[in-house]
Every structure is written in C-alpha cells, then in structure tokens.
C-alpha cells in the first residue's frame, strides 16, 4: 500500500481496524481525541462499533465486558482518563482478558496540562491499579512504530490473556508522519473458546466459561496469583524489545531514553558524533518487560563511564535503569515536565559534562 500522511492518533485508530479490532469505546480527552474523531467516521465504514462511554470509568468496564465475550476491543485515553480506568484494568488483568489500552500522555499530576509528557511511566509499568498485575507496555517513537505496535498489541494481549498498554506522549498522538499499513490480521482471538463467556452453543461446548477476578479461598487466590506471575515471567523471556543506537563503537556515555524523547537524543547523538564525541543509546521499545540485560551490557562496556536516563518527567524510568545497572556505573537522570521537552542542545551540553 502507498504511503499516507497521518497524525499518530489517526494512525492508531486505523491500525486497530487493520488488526481486526472492530470495537472501540472511549471518552474524549486532549491530546488523543482525534482517535475518536477518526474512528467515528471509520468504524461505521469498516462495519465496527464506536461508542462514547459516559465516563472513563464506564469505558473501562465496557472494555472488560467486550473482552470477556472474546471480542477484540480497545480504548484510547490520556493520563487522568487512564487513572479512572485503572480499576477496570486491574479487574481485566485479574480475570485474564485480552484488551488494548492506549495512553497518549499529557502533563500531570492531576489535570496537569495538555502538552506532551512521559509522566505516566510508573502508572503503566508499576501498576496504576491495585493488586499484583502487570501490563505489557510498548512505547512507540514514531507514527509508523505506533501502527506496528498497535497491530502487535492484539495478538500479544490474546497470547497472554492480559491487557497491553501502548504508551505514547502527546507528540506521538499529535504529530504527522508518512505511514504504511501492513496487511490485515485475523479478526478474532484464536484461543477465546477456552475462556470467553461467548455462549456454550456458539462454541459447541458443554463446559461453562466464567470470567471473574474474585477468589475468596486464600489457597485459590495464591495459586491464581502464581499463574499470573508465571505469565509475567514468560513476558520477560519472550517479549523484550529495544533498539540500540550507535552502540557498536566505543562510547563514553550511554543514554537510555524511550518514545519521542529518544528522537531528540538521537539528534543530539548525531550532532555530537560530528564533534568527535561518541554516545550510545538503548531505546526500550517495551517498558515492561524492561530490556534489563541489554542496558546492563551496554553500560558495563569498558569505554562507558556513565549512564544518562533522559525522560519527559521528573525521573521515573531512571529507577529501573539504576536497578539493572546494579551500581556498576553512575546513573543520572535528566528531564523536563509540563510540555517542556529537553532540546538536542541541552542534551549535548549535558553529555559534555561527562566526557
């Protein structure tokens, strides 16, 4: 298919349709309302459903209901909206239903602001809702990558029967880039008859499927949590994704950065190279599971003397970077908030302090 020029928000909506997801429930919030705007036109054309919920709390449970019936379903929101959905996200993870959530982050906390931010790293990666659950979290750095991650997200959610989160800052949603769409994927979860409450007649079964997260028996709940944990351990083995940049040669400084922030870092790294200063970068594409060994290996390289975690927040991912480097190298955070994005020049100046 030929290239087309799309906003990230539009491309996310189109990618969901291409992935075979025909159920979209949402509540508008800047800076992701264009997904709903786009799908209000496109879903009827594709034979799908777009329904605006009465709130994000309602939307969270609409997602749970559709997922529990074995339907591909997704929603998009932005930070405060995702907070409101977090209860349902915990229930969906507990009930082992597949669903896709997209958070186009705005500045926080509270109502914050409408400009880009990466302030929801903790919320997505460490569990915004209650209980022992994890989301598989992917962070695109371009509109094309947002499309690819959306299309991967549905089969991954079904493979693990767990919610998948696409975490983009406001720039991912708002900027326009040329994109190409891969072919359509199969339109239904392949394993749904084993667990979905989709009707015994429909699946030709005499066994009832019960979608629930309530386990009053302590032994059963412990076993249930062990089962969930085993899925998260499997994600750590099979789903880690990252992109190294300029890590082949000898570099003095290693940058860890994700999403559109990594593109600013890339410009800084290219400019520094022209000045004869080598800097490597690891860009986590999955934030959970986190590319722990890749970051450790890149940091302990003989030439590397320090590590910078550069984020559009006040220092969240840096805690994971420190954890995986295990004290082998000094780790420093640099970042800004509220829609202020660190510039390539600032990052270059920062790196020069270390070389």
């Amino acid at each position: 298919m030929a290239k087309i020029l799309m906003k990230g928000n539009e491309a996310i909506g189109e990618a969901a349709i291409r992935a075979g997801c025909l159920n979209y429930f949402a509540y508008p919030i800047t800076p992701q309302s264009e997904v709903a705007e786009y799908l209000s036109k496109r879903m009827p054309e594709a034979g799908g459903v777009f329904l605006q919920g009465e709130s994000e709390v309602a939307v969270g449970y609409m997602i749970f209901g559709a997922a529990g019936c074995g339907q591909r379903v997704f929603t998009t929101s932005s930070s405060p909206g995702v907070s409101l959905m977090s209860e349902a996200i915990s229930y969906i993870a507990g009930a082992q239903c597949p669903a896709v959530f997209v958070n186009i982050i705005r500045g926080g906390p509270g109502l914050g602001g409408i400009l880009p931010s990466q302030g929801d790293y903790f919320q997505s990666v460490k569990g915004g809702g209650h209980g022992d659950y994890r989301l598989l979290v992917m962070a695109p750095a371009s509109v094309q990558e947002a499309v690819e991650m959306m299309m991967m997200a549905f089969p991954l959610a079904e493979k693990y029967r767990n919610p998948v989160m696409i975490l983009g800052d406001g720039l991912i949603g708002q900027m326009m880039e040329p994109v190409e769409f891969p072919d359509h994927l199969k339109s239904e979860p392949t394993n749904k008859d084993a667990w979905a409450s989709n009707g015994m007649d429909t699946r030709g079964s005499d066994k009832q499927n019960l979608v629930k997260s309530l386990y009053l028996d302590p032994q059963q709940l412990n076993d249930h949590n062990l089962l969930l944990k085993s899925k998260y351990e499997q994600m750590k083995k099979e789903e880690i994704r990252f992109e190294p940049y300029n890590t082949d040669g000898d570099y003095r400084v290693l940058i860890v950065s994700f999403g559109t922030m990594s593109r600013v870092c890339r410009t800084a790294i290219d400019n520094l190279k022209e000045e004869g200063i080598e800097v490597g970068m690891i860009r986590p594409r999955t934030l959970f599971p986190f590319p722990e060994s890749a970051i450790y290996d890149a940091a302990v390289k003989d030439s590397c003397t320090s590590v910078l975690s550069i984020e559009m927040n006040m220092g969240q991912m840096v805690e994971d970077v420190e954890r995986c480097i295990r004290g082998q190298r000094p780790v420093r955070w640099y970042g800004k908030c509220g829609g202020e994005v660190p510039t390539p020049e600032e990052i270059m100046d920062l790196v020069k302090e270390y070389v």
């Binding site: 290239k3 087309i4 020029l5 799309m6 906003k7 539009e10 189109e14 800047t30 800076p31 264009e34 705007e37 786009y38 036109k41 602001g113 409408i114 400009l115 406001g170 720039l171 708002q174 900027m175 326009m176 880039e177 040329p178 559109t260 593109r263 600013v264 890339r266 410009t267 829609g339 994005v341 510039t343 390539p344």
Partner: protein, 230 residues
C-alpha cells in the same frame, strides 16, 4: 507565476491538511513580495503545532500575529480574542486567518459571520490528497461543504498542498497537482496555487503548472528538528 491575494484570506481545510504551514509560509512570501500582512491564529481545536509556534519568525519579518492573550495560550477551552473582530473590521492589505481543522475548526468563523459579512473575504480550502478523507474528489467536496456550513461562508478557491513531509518527491507534487486540477474541474473552484518543499524546486519546471507554486520551508517541526531558514 505570482500569487495574487489581497484583503481577507481564510485558510481552511481538514485536520492536518497543512493549513498552518501554508498560512505561515504564505504570509512571509507575500511580505517579502512587498505586501503588508497580518495573520491571526483561529485554531481553537488543535492544541499542538499551531501558528503561535511560528510567532518569532513571523515577528522577525514584521508580520503581526494576533493570538489569544498570553495567559490563555495553553487553555483547554477555546478562547477567541476580541482582537480578531477588530482585525477583520480594519484589515491590512493582506489579512490571513488560519482556521482550525474540519467543520469543527470552521465553526469559529460562523461566530465571526457578523463582522465578516461586510468585508471582502476569500475562503480557500487546503487539500493534501495524501491525507485520509481527502484522497478522493468526493471526500474533498464533502469536507468543503461541511466547512461552508459551519462557517456560513462560501469557499472561493483551492490550495494544493500535496506532501508526505520529508518523504515528498517531485512525482508526488506532480500527481498532487493532477488531483487538484481534476478537483478544480469537478468543483468549479479555481486552483489558487500549489505548494512544494523548497528543496524540490530545482526538480520542477514552472511551465509544468498552470498556477503559482508557493515554496514551503517547514516552520512547524517536532523538537528533534530545526525549523527551516525562511
């Protein structure tokens, strides 16, 4: 061929058709050609990549940019500055109004209908055929009708803005021009001008096009890129 625009020109079109990039480049182009230009940011719909981001470059050319008051610059609610009505009542030789996207963005023009009705106004639709919903003539005409309904104004012409940002080729400019020629024929609206990234101009002959070509030097760029020198 020279772009001949005067009085009040309203730049409208669907979301992401490139209205703001066109408006900013057009303002500077006309100013360089000796016309006094003022420009107003009427985009109350989209929170990112708005005319206000090109304030410094516009001011450096002596082009006045009318914006909402500073304290409301990042408001989540639409703010329409009363200065806009003043600007329309006392227009410059060329006054450019950069509207928001789709009929939603054009609704603000409807709110200004009582001041616009006494002026010479030229509403132009920006079309990028590489965008969703405007990749067919029918799609472009539907959006134009929605904009006309919301703004209570009639569209008087077309601006061809075929591009894939950095991936744009000379062939894309040519196929975009053909698309716009066809749309112009179907809709009966004249093609005022087309745009082309300034870097592609050496690959294009002026004689290929029966309308002027506005060179685009991108001013609205993400934080990892620099705005082009204009």
């Amino acid at each position: 061929m020279k772009i001949n625009l005067k009085d009040i020109v309203i730049i409208a079109g669907n979301y992401g058709s490139g209205k703001t990039e066109v408006a900013v480049n057009l303002a500077i182009h006309c100013k360089k050609a000796g016309t006094d230009v003022r420009i107003a940011d009427l985009d109350l719909v989209n929170p990112y990549f708005r005319t206000r981001e090109a304030k410094a470059v516009l001011n450096s050319y002596g082009i006045d940019l009318v914006l909402p008051p500073e304290m409301y610059m990042y408001a989540d609610l639409p703010i329409l500055s009363p200065a806009i009505a003043g600007l329309i009542r006392n227009p410059s030789p060329l006054t450019i109004l950069d509207a928001g996207g789709d009929d939603a963005g054009a609704t603000v023009l409807g709110a200004l209908a009582h001041v616009l009705k006494d002026q010479e106004v030229r509403l132009l639709q920006v079309v990028n055929p590489f965008r969703p919903f405007t990749d067919t003539a029918e799609g472009c005409i539907r959006i134009r009708q929605e904009i006309e309904g919301a703004s209570r104004l009639k569209c008087k012409g077309l601006i061809g803005n075929a591009n894939l940002i950095d991936d744009t080729s000379a062939a894309d400019i040519r196929s975009g021009y053909e698309f716009l020629q066809n749309l112009s024929g179907q809709s009966g609206l004249p093609l005022e001008f087309i745009t082309a990234p300034s870097g592609l101009l050496p690959e294009l002959e002026e004689s290929e096009f029966a309308c002027p070509v506005l060179p685009i030097r991108r001013q609205l760029v993400p934080p990892w890129k620099r705005a082009a020198v204009i």
